[in-house]
């Protein structure tokens, strides 16, 4: 059968969701941020909640998330997305409110905000992109950087005696009474992407059930910061990040 007989509208099984704008993503080639944007857009589209969703974008590479997903957005000061989300959700309980935050944003400068929002059990969704580095600012060490990992500020590798230990913030958040769903996912293979999408959907559904905070970590790559090309970065992540940040649900109630 000829390719041109297959490429017909009635045979289409996968295409770009209309909730993603036509803007070209500013992310580096292969960056996990793009995959997660797509999943959020698909979930919002499939749930039919485009007019009822408010996203809070972070400071970090995802600062421009509002250019790509066609919903209402706020842009928070660095680390303060959970505070904005708290106010937004409390004032608009009929809206789906989510934050989108990197590991520098969430686990470093914004640690207080995320801990207390989760401990209060705000009925919001948190999407946490853990690429173990400050991507936007040129690849400095983050709290989540692995021991031995080279970054711009740990050129010989992160050392526990000098730089402290990598922070498993998602494990800490799972301990908080206010969270109802805490999970760690990834997006480097098709099965992983499909699982991550189910987790994001569940988190959005939870946020209307007054059960507390849903927290979805995505273990991610930062090819530019890591200085590893995209396909190899995915492999590096599987081999080095997954043993320390194991995938799966930590809490579901």
């Amino acid at each position: 059968m000829d390719v041109k007989d297959i490429i017909k509208p009635e045979n289409m099984v996968y295409g770009k969701t209309k909730l993603l704008t036509d803007n070209i993503l500013h992310y580096c080639p292969g960056c996990s941020h793009g995959v997660v944007h797509k999943l959020i857009a698909e979930v919002i589209d499939e749930m039919g909640i485009q007019d009822k969703t408010i996203g809070i974008s972070p400071v970090g590479c995802a600062v421009f998330a509002y250019n790509y997903i066609d919903i209402d957005w706020e842009e928070a000061a660095h680390g303060r997305a959970p505070a904005l989300a708290t106010a937004t959700k409390r004032l608009n309980p009929d809206k789906y409110v989510f934050t989108y935050q990197g590991d520098g944003d969430l686990a470093s400068i914004g640690t207080a905000e995320i801990m207390h929002a989760c401990n209060r059990g705000e009925n919001i969704v948190v999407i946490f992109i853990n690429n173990a580095i400050y991507g936007m600012t040129g690849g400095q060490m983050a709290p989540t950087t692995l021991l031995g990992m080279k970054t711009a500020t740990t050129p010989y590798g992160r050392r526990a005696d000098l730089n402290g230990y990598p922070l498993k913030i998602t494990e800490l958040i799972a301990q908080l009474e206010g969270t109802c769903y805490v999970t760690r996912q990834s997006v480097e293979t098709a099965p992983a992407v499909r699982k991550a999408k189910k987790a994001i959907r569940k988190a959005f559904e939870n946020s209307m059930m007054k059960k507390g905070t849903s927290f979805v970590e995505i273990v991610s790559t930062c090819n530019s910061g890591w200085k590893i090309p995209p396909v190899k970065a995915n492999k590096w992540m599987e081999e080095n990040m997954f043993p320390f940040y194991p995938l799966g649900d930590m809490k579901d109630r």
Partner: protein
């Protein structure tokens, strides 16, 4: 039941990251020798007969630039 598939890549938006190539179970895809206007070697069906329309390539594409078509044969 067997399926045959085909994909279309938005060449101008593709960033040549190769993640789709690495995730194609049938070895259909490759990166082109040519580059698009932004300098990226875009992905294309190097061996179109092999495509089964599984959607894996489009699922992992960070830039969502792949459309997948599939027919029963």
């Amino acid at each position: 039941m067997a399926f045959k598939g085909a994909i279309v890549v938005d060449n101008e938006k593709c960033k040549g990251c190769g993640v789709c190539v690495a995730n194609c179970p049938t070895g259909t895809l490759a990166l082109a020798k040519h580059v698009n206007s932004r300098g990226y070697n875009y992905a294309y069906m190097a061996e179109p007969d092999k495509c089964i329309g599984c959607t894996n390539c489009a699922t992992v594409c960070p830039d969502d630039v792949i459309t997948v078509y599939k027919v029963k044969i």
